[in-house]
Amino acid sequence: MSVILVVDNAGIGNVVEIAQALGSQPTVIAAGPKQIAEELSGSLAVTWIAADGPAEALAPAVIALAADADVVLAADRSAERALLGQVAAARSIPVLPAVTGAAGNTVSRTTLNGLVAVTEAVSGPVALLVSGAPKPVPAGSGSFQEATPAATYQVAVVSESASQQAQVDLAGASRVIGVGRGIKAEADLAMIEELAAKLGAAIACSRPIAEGVGWLPRDRYLGVSGQVIAPALYLAVGISGQVQHMVGVRGSKAVVAINSDPNAPIFNECDAGVVADLYQIVPALTAALGAS
């Protein structure tokens, strides 16, 4: 028996595939918006924890409902990951991160931040954190039931404030430009926006641009602990190409790099590359594309 923990993202198609590959049709424990639970109940048997309050408060109910599952799974997203880790420790079962595949009783995953692939045989209950972009669940037959939590933690939302920055569906974009530390100032993003408009591309970034300097929202950074994308074109501008970043973009059909450092690792992982100053190439490329 397997269960998938869900909070606020119904795109668990990749997690369902892993559960099925391990031999069982999963059920869902939903500890988030009722609407997400109802959406999934069209294709899976869903138990929704009927309570207000954030997922952080509902962990005791999730732990109780997942107490007997042989395999507990979650997509590698923050709220779901927190619940999965709590279930694993409460039950004292191993938790395997970065799972990419499964067959029979074996699980494939990466470790050392994406540098090493391992295949492991599982005997006994286990928790799996599944990598990958959100994926819709194929239509099927499902059901919906509510569970009243016996106990919760005292965590309450006091206030919320929405980001001023626009939300972008990176996973659904067919062309993505990634910007890195080669960009010297926030104002220079205007030049990238012009190129993106010409290419019809979404703008993403490496981790330091989102978390170090905060020029772009956190959900725009690509990599092993950020977004994983597979567009038709990934254009890396001023990104050196450390493995932690590349893990997030290796599924791209074409990878193109612009970087002034000829020794940047990205040049070993690109289809086409320009060794040059991005401040000269980006405006020139925008102009060249406009001339067509």
């Binding site: 420790a89 191993p94 991160p97 540098l115 391992v118 492991e120 928790a127 939302v157 086409a272 020139a284």
Partner: protein, 255 residues
């Protein structure tokens, strides 16, 4: 009253040499306080100062976590005391075991109502240990915290969400995992480094913590992850306009 910050002593896998069979040679990689953990220590130090609490660092792992280099590196960043569980069997411990050992150390210390952790470790990067500590303690975990205010047992945590930020009120003990940019960690100066040698540290024997090691996972195969092959066609025209025209032509032909 004590606040605990959990930190890892680890080297970056980028500095290790990975063989085709996936085995890692760490001989040229230097261990340090894991990438994001100085941020956690800084947030915890600032919180402990405001709450007039003692700040205890907990680290678990292979014997080198209790070595003088590791202890000084951690204590010089502002801990009042370090509590270490150093055991050969904890080398490469998974998230469940790590969380349970840290939780057992927290219980041993006693009277702790707040454990702060960093975002993720430099070597594994799974973002799981804050949750496994919480699961083992029976406490809530608040991930993605930008700021922690209030006092132990009555916290106000500012959390990053997909659509912005929100403030959570947490009553009772809790584990809080801070974002990589929740604080700007201070670089320890000579005074802090010298002072670190005089601060107390304590080693807890693993056997005395009564932690049962989770089992049931056996490695069958491992290999170095090879990037997918790419054409690596370099455009070398010296003139930016020419190079851009070549790249534009490449894009039209290939994308």
């Amino acid at each position: 009253m004590s606040v605990v910050v959990a930190y890892k002593w680890a080297a970056s896998p980028n500095d290790a040499s990975i063989a085709p069979d996936g085995s890692a040679d760490w001989s040229r990689a230097k261990a340090a306080i894991s990438e994001y953990d100085p941020v956690a220590i800084q947030v915890a130090r600032d919180f402990a100062d405001a709450a007039q609490a003692e700040l205890i660092g907990i680290s678990i792992g292979a014997p080198d976590v209790a070595g003088s280099l590791a202890k000084k590196a951690a204590l010089s960043r502002g801990l009042d005391k370090a509590v270490l569980v150093a055991d050969e069997s904890l080398a490469g411990a998974g998230a469940t075991l790590t969380g349970k050992v840290i939780a057992a150390a927290v219980n041993q210390i006693g009277g702790v109502e707040l454990v702060i952790t960093g975002d993720s470790s430099v070597d594994i990067g799974a973002h799981l240990v804050s949750a496994t500590i919480a699961g083992a303690l029976g406490w809530p975990v608040i991930p993605d915290a930008l700021a922690v205010a209030g006092k132990p047992g009555e916290l106000e945590v500012t959390q990053v969400t997909a659509s912005g930020t929100r403030t959570l009120r947490v009553t009772g003990p809790a584990v809080v995992a801070v974002t990589a940019d929740a604080a700007q960690p201070k670089i320890p100066g000579m005074k802090e480094i010298l002072g670190a040698g005089k601060k107390p540290s304590e080693e807890l024997p693993l056997a005395g913590l009564g932690v049962v090691v989770p089992t049931g996972v056996d490695t069958q195969a491992s290999s170095r992850v090879e990037p997918p092959p790419r054409a690596k066609q370099l455009i070398t025209a010296g003139d930016p306009t020419e190079a851009a025209a070549e790249l534009a032509a490449w894009l039209r032909a290939n994308v």
